[in-house]
Symmetry: C2
Subunit: 340 residues, 2 copies
Amino acid sequence: MNDGPDFKGEKPNRTTLRHVATLAGVSEISVSRVMRNAPNISDKLRSKVMEAANALSYTPNRVAGALKNQSSNLVAVVLPSMNNDVFAAVLDGIESELNEHGLHSVLGLSQYDHDRELQVIRELLSWSPMGIIMTGLHHTAPIPEMIAQLDIPVVQIMDIEGTPIGSAVGISHSKAAVAAADHLYGKGYRKIGYIGAWNERPERSRARRIAFEGRLAELGAPLVASMIVDERSSAVAGSRTTADLLAQHPDIDCIFYANDDLAMGGLFHAMSANIDVPGDLGLMGFNGIEIGKATPLPLSSIQTPRFEMGQEAARLLLSAKTDGHRVVDLSFQVFEGKTA
Amino acid sequence: MNDGPDFKGEKPNRTTLRHVATLAGVSEISVSRVMRNAPNISDKLRSKVMEAANALSYTPNRVAGALKNQSSNLVAVVLPSMNNDVFAAVLDGIESELNEHGLHSVLGLSQYDHDRELQVIRELLSWSPMGIIMTGLHHTAPIPEMIAQLDIPVVQIMDIEGTPIGSAVGISHSKAAVAAADHLYGKGYRKIGYIGAWNERPERSRARRIAFEGRLAELGAPLVASMIVDERSSAVAGSRTTADLLAQHPDIDCIFYANDDLAMGGLFHAMSANIDVPGDLGLMGFNGIEIGKATPLPLSSIQTPRFEMGQEAARLLLSAKTDGHRVVDLSFQVFEGKTA
DNA sequence: CATCCGATTGGTATCGTTGTCAATTGAATT
DNA sequence: AATTCAATTGACAACGATACCAATCGGATG
């Protein structure tokens, strides 16, 4: 294409160490060291290099660095979906902590599909991230091995009931469910129902339902009915499902929901249908989302530390080298709203 | 030149092209070609290579590829914050489209800070992304130049009123505000107020307020008052601020909010205070979030295509090479709720 | 059967940075 | 002034994949 052989040298390539080194009259490796704040650099050298680097507005090429180092300033973050308040908050927490250390997330969404998760993780690992944060404790076979090969820290988030690959941070979902059951029982409800959605994705919601059901049985007020719909969680779905459940089981005096979106829908249904909450019907959600606290009757819920979970996950990742594997049980709280 | 087999071979390094090539009895470059589905590969070679690659569960090292190619399968995504439904939905849209093409997002959050944005973009660009998606049309000086140097496509999202660097996708915020004004005026409201938060971040909300105010003036029903609080948008803030605004201006018969979170708070306040909505007080939000549609009185709002915006941004990025710079005006819609 | 041409396959250099180890400097010591 | 040793600085070879160009193969052609 080009007749002049070294015509290519002309193309406005990114400025590299070499350019800075040439301008500063030093070696490339010295520039590299200055840029990385390596020890044992004379002030004279440093200032020469910095001057040249600024003049050329040089930015190190992370790709080359990562290749040489077999590691980067990227963190692989694998979440099921972004279609969900919860994970947005978690990601926010992760980013807030990572950013303070000059790290960045490479995102992978599994869409609640194990095959997809595997593929996504494989792709993300091919970027030599310095660590990986993933959701839940259950992962298909080759995943732990793949991560072990790279020898990078892993943090699993959301759940701590099981065997983590590396570190983990989350809450005990079964304890949270028990707390919810105790709370509702304590309020005097005896005919309690449960509403979930989207075939209990994420899986953790199933663990909660089962623990909830178990606890109610222990208390002698067994779950009256549970209704799990196929569609995604939303207030609209929660509203309709609540109506359906109450129609089928008029004796129900309280409903525990898989999440606050559904519960908000339930609350709105009750408002529309002039049902006395919490008198005739108690409602309890899960997560403690912000908007639930602004309703005329604040939504009773289990408050989960989503942002903090992300933050802590990032911290665990950063401290893994020195502190090793740790499991952090972030506490949830029963949010005493006025709906149950 | 290895008398003793590689000492280094001992360390449990990632499997590389070389390992696959050796096992398959072919050259490295051939393996590379097979992995990339290059043309002119015999079926025999392909199957030999695939077999070996599977046996070793080889994954190409993207870092090395990116270094050689000066380009990667990463897309830099720069958003102001994740603390916001809106950007989570946008990111979801971006990911949904990118994932279909084997691309991944590297995330950068500017936290609404221009210096931070600059720094984040610089860092992300050092990963040789194949493109960059960023928020808004206003960016501090060196940013366009930095991107131009890499010669990668840019897509700016959210806003289309201004001069994009490359492609852009969003809505006309001033038109949306005019539509809101027209809607409210059409419903008969004449004493209209405005509530915003967090010092009008993102900037687009200011553009809306100004256009809204301008339109109302044109219509002969000038804005009665606007109240912009310092704290982050939330239903709680919206509720309190609504109470404050109504206390200061009892004659207000309608409020337009910077977003649905605030508006939901307003609606909840009205419910608690037994204000007749939409009779005595009209309420209109902005964005059309899902939960607003489940309230007993569905929240009137301007429906914005957030997920689609992300999707379209990714599409624009992918088609930039063939289609060049484009500006896509995604339409908003007046969502006719029952609060105004 | 020799020749030719396109289809395949391989060798080599290179992307930009950094670890390793060698070379140099310069101040402190005897 | 000679010697010593730590502090600096530099040369070189990787990291793993791929572009470029050369070499080889196979079948069609005359």
